[in-house]
Symmetry: C2
Subunit: 446 residues, 2 copies
């Protein structure tokens, strides 16, 4: 059995390692187009924030370990250009431009996602960056250090854009956040989005809402980032307007695409060709709340899906229940967490949803350090089910969100969630955990 | 309808307030034997720790508010001495020693729990304290301040004993912790208990294991706390060896007692007499893991049970699913959290349990501030169910425990819990949350 994997990051290397553990004899080949495998991309903002930070520490396992200790044929600089499902072959070019062709018995496409880059005038300037690959991270870090950047513009307010607001501010760089929408985080209730907005401004981030960047111009070593109404001055631009699935190879090979143009997979991670799997950011997934397909690229999902592929090809039972869309990020001391559906998403999915937004406190009021926490909770009038939760807080409490995520997996009703036995001690929470306070309020509306 | 409540703390006042909200016309009488109602007893260690702390700030709602705003006939200093279920009457004496007798249509017994005090020689000395009521808190705080206490002994290592180790140390008092068991927290795996032990010693707490206190002697203003092998010197003693349900009145009235001698209640919080309810620390509860009765007195349970009683007597549907035994406490920067059953408890309950103990990290290793976290997880070989989790950590992560508590309420299998979509961002967790790491390990053993 020859197991070939296209892509050597989270999903690809998880699958390779687990396949090796499951079957010491299997031939395993990984084709990675860059020179990097198995790194913590999500940690890049934290290394950039740290003057002493070394991007190379983000490499979780060196290529030599995969090759020598795990007997995985890991080929770097190998770009796959075509998949031939019928003849079970992949072909492409290596770093030197030399063509290669490899046969497989089972194939995993783990090509990840690519950062969106709008094709506006100036997007190709050397001062314009994205932050997706480890090489992107190296370039950004080297640029801000070598050029002693004092002012940067970040376009977009996704996880990466916001985390980089913190990272660059920590480096003493003035950050202009440029946002095409009129609000910072449109999927949050206005009170929650405003709390994040305030926290950013407190730290000196300049936020410009409602500006769609139309062009980027250079003047000496400086840039003008121009929207219709105004231009903003900076020395570099980070384009952080999201990612899209890297599903081109699969599409060309005639494999079915699913949610958001990601590769459609079943509950065993098989594509429309049973010997070809997809996992990680390039694949879609089931949503545990709707039961429908969705595309929410996350590191945990990629790792888990990689394992599932390895288990399935080695004959172990696999059934991927799906994702709840759980996510968390921190900007300075503000944490934002979510799981499940927003009110709008719930409406679109055909529920009859209702929402509450509550402000409560992170600890007993009698204990020092208690901070406000906002909880936004959505339930379904018809079934009584809990559909989603978002939280904004400033006291290390975003870890509470997992309680709601587990409830979504269990398809709990709000009433059942509201009677769960959550932990209480004054330094941790009020007697009623913020999630319980929200659930009690939501019950009155359902 | 006359609703009479014995006891004016968490369960009693929650019931009174909710009954009033549910029914503006109902006659509600609360008989409280002390002069205090509705206070946050769990916060007392934090007020004692703070030189400026004022015990009176722990009163959540003043008696006047209950009386004037909520029209509740709240009678302080009223000690009930007998319940006559047949004639629906309670009788007792007021603060002046004057007898009273009151008829009820519905009665709630919310008499709470009492601190255990071993009847050893010296237990009645004025330097020997418990910390249960607000008056206990006032006495302890006044004593350490007026006598300028420099050395204290704490007997027992429950939540209160350990929290008071921190509180007194914060006040510059040297603490001797005296423990009859050979280990600090016998319900934790040795690695987890040792981590807590180390954290206490780092802060200067002197821990003496395996010492059963046999007598307390005075020498001038100093005390000798004597075990068989040794005597320890201190100026005050805090006896923190647990609590027992205050179920004497119910027993005398012929009501059925249940787990641990607490008042037996059904899923509507009714005792063996359908018009008499019990709630809070004096009542037992169903355990969501075993389905059997248990007695785990907690503030949230008391508040929730008080609401349930009010709902039931006003004709609303009530079904108390039960408790998971979720608890959390903090000593200095160490947090300990648990939910569900330990291995030993699971064996006793008739499961075929298996356990893992894993040490992992609180954040991505690449991010500053990552600290070790231990997770102890118990599952059932036969059903595959998750039965319990304990955690010890030092990075504000005990809030993770609620995810496991929710899973216990949902009667989730370990395999299902292991595939839940938990939040990941480098400052919050490794890609695999500590609970998922433990679940993955436990799966291999089930």
């Amino acid at each position: 059995m020859h197991f070939v994997i296209i892509g050597g990051d989270a999903a690809g290397m998880s699958a390779a390692s687990r396949a090796r553990r499951n079957d010491p004899a299997m031939a395993i080949t990984v084709l990675e187009m860059t020179e990097d495998v198995s790194y913590s991309a999500c940690s890049m903002p934290y290394v950039i924030a740290d003057e002493e930070g070394d991007m190379e520490t983000l490499i979780m396992r060196a290529p030599a370990v995969f090759r020598e200790k795990q007997n995985i044929d890991l080929r770097l600089g190998h770009r796959v250009e075509a998949i031939d499902p019928k003849n079970r072959r992949v072909s492409g070019k290596d770093a030197g431009g030399k063509p290669f062709e490899i046969s497989f018995d089972k194939l995993l496409i783990a090509t990840g996602s690519v950062a969106n880059m709008p094709l506006i005038p100036g997007h190709e300037l050397p001062h314009v960056f994205v932050l997706k690959s480890l090489d992107d991270g190296r370039r950004v870090k080297a640029f801000i250090e070598e050029k002693r950047i004092e002012k940067a513009a970040i376009i977009g307010a996704g996880y990466i854009g916001l985390e980089m607001c913190e990272a660059l501010t920590e480096r003493g760089i003035t950050v202009q956040l440029i946002r095409n929408r009129p609000e910072l985080l449109p999927w949050l209730a206005p009170e929650l989005s405003a709390a994040v907005d305030t926290a950013l401004r407190e730290k000196g981030v300049l936020i410009n809402h409602g500006c769609t960047t139309e062009r980027i111009e250079t003047h000496d070593s400086r840039l003008d980032i121009c929207c219709r109404e105004a231009c903003f001055d900076a020395e570099m631009v980070l384009m952080a307007i999201g990612v899209r699935p890297s599903s081109f190879l699969a599409k060309e090979a005639g494999l079915e695409l699913g949610a958001a143009g990601a590769i459609a997979v079943n509950r065993s991670m098989q594509t429309s060709h049973p010997d070809i799997y997809a996992a990680g950011d390039c694949a879609d997934a089931y949503h545990v709340v709707t039961g429908e397909k969705t595309w929410i690229p996350m590191a945990l999902t990629a790792n888990r899906a990689g394992w599932a592929v390895a288990d399935h090809i080695t004959g172990r039972p696999v059934r991927m229940e799906g994702v709840a869309g759980t996510g968390v990020f921190k900007i300075f001391d503000v944490e934002v967490a979510r799981t499940g559906l927003t009110l709008h998403e719930a409406e679109k999915a055909g529920f009859d949803p209702v929402e509450v937004v509550v402000k409560t406190y992170s600890r007993a009021k009698t204990v020092p350090g208690s901070r406000p926490v906002w909880v936004q909770m959505v339930g379904d009038r018809q079934s009584g089910r809990l559909l989603g939760v978002s939280m904004v807080g400033r006291d290390n409490e975003a870890r509470r969100i997992n309680a709601a995520a587990v409830a979504l997996h269990a398809r709990m009703r709000v009433v059942d969630f509201s009677t769960t036995d959550m932990a209480y001690a004054p330094p941790f929470s009020p007697v009623w955990d913020p999630l319980l306070v929200a659930a009690n309020q939501l019950l009155k509306k359902i």
